[in-house]
């Protein structure tokens, strides 16, 4: 065993003691923040958001007071929830043939319907030229699919698969398509990300998928959302920070960072997360107001920019993200709130469909080993040679 637990435990004790000291102060500031949120008015928020232009932090767009809470609707008699998730095996340079695998799993769970629920998983193997994202015309414009790029391609496959299963849904009852994590794919706009990745993820997948789903929603009762468990976002507390801020844009930039403010009164939200304030504001089952994301990636989302709200599901505060056409349709918004809450209650705090999709997609250590073994066995068979690296061999046989 290479981890020295005696050394690690000393650090853990220091960390937890530090946390306990901050706890009381945080609780008081959370309570104060909630009072400010409850006292915020629609006019005050809208006016403040209109008057600011540049701050060193990301805030949520809002069209009403920050302290609103809404009850769910009654659960529909019959409905379905579909979800997809993915898992991947990255390119391993120690193997004889460079290849990667993406496994997309999913489910469609039908409630009070005659048709049975479905569970599926579909592996796709990438190799050779398939391991490159290519530009349309320029032959040298290409990017190798591995690491985080493979992760983004996995997201693409998850979205496409979910869109396809919803398109094939024949029942008249409502359906909710639910994804794991955020719909705000900010990673593709990060530094060092090749433009072809962004093109493939946003322009060629996300936008067409959302177009297709929005069209489908004209003929069937369809909601689309993603669920973020234990969200670490601070968009709404930053809106409160902005609301409380008495400085001009230029002064704020000198006093505040993305994480904290040095000046009063906006420093009351320092190190407070959205979920902290909504844990106080929302009773079990309630959702918050709907907010809009002001992430820089939204400029690429066109008419499908992302809105979000928080729900107290009884176990945790979850963040629900929806495209604009759901956010601006009161019936679909309410359906999304109601069905996600029901999913969380059935799943003891986490949506059942998302959890089952994960179970279909997940690649265990033995799956990964089996994939590697099969690849090696077939390579040896066809090439009559063992092309694995000595590093892999040494890990497989850690001899003394």
């Amino acid at each position: 065993m290479s981890l020295d637990l005696n050394k690690a435990i000393r650090k853990i004790k220091e960390i937890t003691q530090g946390h306990a000291k901050e706890f009381k102060d945080r609780v008081a500031r959370i309570q104060l923040s909630v009072e400010h949120m409850e006292g915020s008015t629609r006019e005050g928020i809208v006016e403040k958001l209109r008057s600011v232009s540049n701050r060193p932090f990301l805030w949520a767009g809002a069209t009403e007071g920050l302290g609103q809470a809404y009850e769910p609707d009654p659960i529909p008699q019959a409905f379905s929830v579909a979800s997809t998730d993915g898992s991947h095996i990255d390119v391993d340079r120690h193997l004889p043939i460079p290849c990667a695998l993406i496994n997309v799993g999913g489910c469609i769970i039908r409630y009070n319907l005659r048709t049975k629920s479905d569970f599926f998983s579909e592996p796709e193997v990438y190799h050779g030229e398939g391991l490159y994202l290519k530009g349309d015309t320029n032959v040298v414009d290409e990017v190798y699919i591995e690491g985080s790029t493979l992760g983004m391609l996995r997201t693409v496959n998850e979205i496409e698969t979910l869109t396809n299963i919803i398109a094939e849904y024949q029942d008249d009852s409502p359906i909710l398509g639910l994804m794991d994590g955020s719909l705000i794919l900010w990673q593709v706009s990060g530094p060092g990300v090749h433009h072809l990745v962004k093109k493939r993820v946003i322009d060629q997948t996300f936008i067409p998928a959302m177009d297709k789903l929005e069209n489908l929603s004209k003929t069937k009762t369809l909601a689309i959302a993603s669920y973020v468990s234990m969200p670490r976002s601070t968009d709404v507390v930053n809106t409160l920070r902005l609301y409380l801020c008495q400085s001009a844009d230029e002064k704020c930039s000198g006093l505040c960072s993305i994480r904290k403010s040095l000046s009063s009164p906006c420093n009351i939200v320092n190190n407070i997360l959205d979920r902290d304030v909504f844990a106080v504001l929302l009773k079990e089952g309630q959702r918050s107001s709907v907010f809009s994301s002001t992430s820089v990636i939204m400029k690429d989302y066109g008419k499908h920019s992302i809105f979000f709200f928080y729900v107290n599901n009884g176990w945790e505060i979850g963040r629900i993200e929806v495209p604009e056409w759901i956010a601006k349709n009161p019936d679909l918004l309410s359906l999304t709130h109601t069905l996600i809450l029901d999913q969380c209650r059935k799943g003891l705090g986490y949506p059942v469909a998302v959890s089952e999709a994960h179970e279909q997609a997940v690649l265990t250590a033995s799956d990964r080993r089996a994939f590697q073994d099969m690849l090696l066995a077939h390579t040896n068979e066809s090439l009559s040679s063992n092309n694995t690296s000595q590093k892999v061999r040494s890990k497989l046989l850690p001899w003394l």
């Binding site: 489910c107 769970i109 009070n112 059935k346 003891l348 059942v352």
Partner: protein, 195 residues
């Protein structure tokens, strides 16, 4: 129209000479304890000695879900995925095999193949078994077969044979020979059979 007995009820997922395990196609639709089933195209006959319902994925623990439900059915209605993610399995002890369309009692020379279809038995196959209670010897010899399972098996077969009385008399005589010197055990089994 095909006879219902033509349809397989389960599929073999583990097998050796003495026992085989099968996964039912429908949740909670296992043949009852002690009943006779057959597995494979050249059938191996077995008597059901254990039935279990569990998660398809053994790594996933099953959690209670009925906190707010008023009936057991409501739990399944509220969680329809359970019907697809749970499965019922049963184990059977091999008591015979088929040769020239006859049921020969004893262990088969080969276990049923994995994925072999499992059917419930037809009445003439039950007659073959009940006409000669040698299978009782096999069951008594098997360490996993408790007397309750043996009794359940004899009762199950007796209910499906044409001449129940005659079968029970033959079974009783076989038991008396097999359990010589174990009077209290024999009496306990016979008392059960009389119920």
């Amino acid at each position: 129209m095909r006879n219902l007995l033509d349809r397989p009820i389960a599929e073999v997922i583990e097998a050796n000479i003495e026992t085989f395990k099968a996964q039912c196609y429908e949740l909670y639709k296992s043949p009852p304890l002690g009943s006779l089933v057959k597995a494979g195209d050249i059938p191996v006959y077995g008597i059901v000695i254990d039935i279990a319902t569990e998660g398809l994925d053994p790594s996933r623990p099953i959690a209670a879900r009925g906190f707010s439900a008023t009936t057991e059915q409501e739990i399944y209605t509220q969680n329809p995925q359970l019907m697809e993610l749970l499965c019922t399995k049963f184990r059977a002890i091999a008591v015979g095999f088929s040769r020239d369309n006859l049921l020969i009692q004893g262990y088969p020379f080969e276990p049923p193949r994995i994925h072999a279809f499992v059917h419930e038995c037809l009445s003439d196959e039950l007659s073959d078994l009940s006409s000669n209670p040698d299978f009782i010897h096999l069951l008594l010899q098997h360490p996993e077969v408790k007397d309750e399972i043996l009794t359940a098996s004899i009762i199950s077969i007796s209910k499906q044979t044409n001449n129940r009385e005659a079968f029970l008399v033959r079974a009783g005589k076989t038991l008396a020979i097999e359990l010589t010197g174990q009077m209290s055990r024999l009496n306990a089994i016979l008392r059960k059979l009389k119920q």
